[in-house]
């Protein structure tokens, strides 16, 4: 896609997204971090749909979470890929939805994909999350300091943007994420294996069928079994559970 055309699409998609969000004012839960955004979103959608019904809750289809992907996700439209004509069609559909649609979900769980400085500010120019989840701040490169501070700055922008009556769910096992608690007016809910986490995970075991662990939240402890492997799936389940119970 040519840079000028991309800017043009970005501008109009952002405009129509702001209109539709202004018209329907859904409750927005943002999910950000280096990885684990999609499992968190998927578990959250599953749990929230159990509570509120499928029509009332929506998330990003696939992983549409960038400057063009996020508005497409909110407007619930597919990408025009590399076709000029398809993009024009997308823009027409976006305009129709923004101005004339009569239905829109009451809750959105949205992944926010951040690759470089300024991305978060751009995305927050479109959506104003009520709640936010930060999964982790990790690098993909062998040098330990590789752009993690930059990514942390982006997450600070998200934390600062939340309203005082908002809530931020922070991974207390990740030092960089945990420190975001200092950068927000919103209520902080820490989750993880740390002793001081509000939503605490303990006794994690891997079995042939998946993983088992104990989950403790608001004074209630329960054993959990999930059919997936890896700590990230445990975190994703826990976040979804506390989001569901808190909402």
């Amino acid at each position: 896609m040519k840079p000028f055309f991309k800017k043009f699409i970005q501008f109009y998609l952002k405009l129509y997204t702001k209109i539709i969000l202004w018209r329907f004012r859904p409750f927005v839960i943002a999910v950000a971090g280096s990885t684990n955004k999609t499992p968190v979103k998927d578990y959250s959608l599953k749990f929230l749909r159990e509570k509120y019904g499928a029509d009332d809750v929506r998330g990003n289809p696939r992983s549409y979470n960038t400057e063009i992907g996020l508005p497409l996700a909110i407007l619930y439209l597919d990408s025009g890929e590399s076709s000029f004509w398809k993009w024009l069609e997308v823009l027409v559909q976006a305009k129709m939805k923004a101005l004339f649609s009569s239905n829109f979900p009451k809750k959105l769980v949205l992944e926010l994909g951040v690759g470089k400085e300024g991305d978060m500010r751009y995305l927050l120019g479109m959506v104003h999350p009520d709640w936010a989840v930060v999964t982790n701040i990790e690098g993909s490169y062998s040098d330990a300091e590789s752009n993690l501070d930059e990514l942390q700055e982006e997450m600070k922008v998200l934390a600062k943007s939340l309203p005082a009556k908002g809530r931020i769910f922070l991974n207390f096992d990740d030092g960089r994420v945990r420190s975001l608690a200092k950068n927000t007016k919103a209520e902080v809910v820490g989750y993880g294996f740390s002793e001081d986490a509000t939503a605490k995970i303990s006794n994690l075991k891997t079995t042939v069928e998946g993983q088992t662990f104990d989950f403790e939240f608001r004074g209630k402890k329960e054993p959990v079994e999930i059919k997936k492997y890896g700590r990230h799936n445990v975190y994703a389940w826990v976040i979804a559970k506390i989001v569901k119970e808190s909402l």
Binding site: N36, S82, V208, Y229, G230
Partner: protein, 405 residues
């Protein structure tokens, strides 16, 4: 050690072919397409953003490994992207790193016969001994479990196989795979399942099965994989390459997924061999998984049409070849009829036959014995090449074999 490792017969045929002008090659298994634009753009964006100059973590970019496991989940395969996935420099690096990790000198590795030629040298590089297990040609080149068990010894350390199989295009059934898994548990060996052609299933294959009263649903991908069987995840190494599915042979990018304890050991070897897979190729692979679904579907349609074309053309050479229609991959493995070989007194094996076709008909194929003893008297033809190439190659073959009518 280097004395018993030589250039792959496939590459040897390509080399011979390159010396003869105007040859049409159906030898090497290379797609006729360029890498899809979306994938190239993903790589270009990563370069422009300065993301490819440094080593990635040894197992690969976190975001790529995460997307890999998300895609695997769609196929009912569950892995932890942080500890159980390693992005490698092609599937042969995944295989070699695994072999170097699990084998001690003299350990035996079972390989189906016929199977992909490069498995043998990968085993030998690690000091192992390849042991051929003949497939049952009469039953569409299926596993013969009795033959497999006969070849298991105290030195057997692994089974390395390709599903769907190269060169036969066979898809091993769920029941056969379960029997193989039971053998692995009983005799305590690893299984390496190389599923590079998993996206080329031409006729919806896996129809499920029953265990006692329980009905087992068909596999989501159409191909049942041992990676869906949780009970053997501690002894299974699942391997996938982007080379064939996404026309990315030159990018050298693949991955393996296995239980975290084994993955940790293989990661050490992988680090010694390549440090990390090429980072630009990792971003291209990410683009492939996120954005090239439509390209993949397009290739699938084209390969199916080419499979049908090459079978039609082989039907016209029924006096020369008999063959089994491949279910998958992009190879057909016809058998040379005895009557034809009898009429060619200077030809004593499939290598001579393939060289004869190359030199006289100017068509490059791969001799069947390169894939194992059971491949003798066969040749492998690749329909990854364009329809134009397939038609031209068969026009030449028909002309050459006219004299034998």
């Amino acid at each position: 050690m280097a004395d018993n490792i030589s250039l792959s017969p496939i590459k040897d045929m390509e080399l011979r072919a390159s010396r003869i002008p105007g040859v049409v090659s159906l030898a090497q298994g290379v797609p006729s397409f360029d890498t899809p634009e979306t994938i190239k753009q993903a790589a270009i964006r990563a370069i422009e953003r300065g993301k490819v100059a440094k080593y990635s973590l040894a197992p690969g970019l976190l975001e790529l490994r995460e997307v890999i496991t998300q895609k695997l989940e769609e196929e009912n395969k569950f892995y932890d992207f942080e500890e159980e996935v390693i992005v490698t420099a092609g599937s042969i690096e995944a295989i070699t790193a695994t072999m170097l990790t699990i084998l001690s000198p003299g350990d035996e590795v079972l390989v189906p016969d016929p199977t992909y030629t490069s498995y043998q040298p990968a085993i030998k590089v690690a000091g192992g001994v390849p042991v051929f297990v003949p497939l049952d040609e009469k039953n569409h080149w299926s596993f013969d479990i009795a033959e497999l068990e006969k070849r298991i010894t105290p030195k057997t350390k692994a089974l390395l196989f390709c599903n769907p199989n190269n060169p036969t295009g066979t898809i091993f059934t769920r029941n056969q795979l379960h029997a193989v898994a039971q053998m692995a548990i009983k005799h305590d060996f690893y299984i390496l399942s190389d599923e590079v052609y998993k996206d080329f299933i031409f006729d919806g294959f896996d129809e499920g099965s029953t265990f006692g009263n329980r009905k087992v649903e068909p596999s989501r991908s159409g191909l049942y994989s041992l990676a869906e069987m949780r009970g053997i995840r501690d002894r299974l190494v699942y391997i996938f390459s982007f080379s064939k599915a996404y026309a990315m042979t030159g990018w050298r990018i693949a991955y393996l997924a296995t239980h975290h304890e084994l993955a940790k050991k293989i990661l050490g070897t992988h680090d010694v061999l390549v440090t990390c897979a090429p980072v630009v190729s990792q971003y291209a692979a990410l683009g492939a998984l996120e954005m090239a679904e439509k390209d993949l579907a397009g290739y699938h349609r084209i390969y199916k049409a080419r499979r049908d074309l090459i079978c039609e053309r082989l039907d016209k050479l029924a006096h020369v070849f008999e063959y089994q229609k491949p279910d998958s991959a992009y190879f057909v493995f016809p058998k040379i009829k005895k009557e034809i070989l009898d009429k060619m007194p200077n030809i004593s094996n499939s290598k001579d036959f393939a060289i004869e076709l190359l030199e006289k008909a100017h068509v490059a194929t791969v001799p069947g014995n390169a894939f194992g003893p059971s491949g003798e008297n066969h040749i492998r033809m690749c329909f990854g090449r364009s329809e134009e190439d397939i038609n031209e190659a068969f026009d030449r073959l028909e002309k050459y074999f006219k004299v034998f009518l």
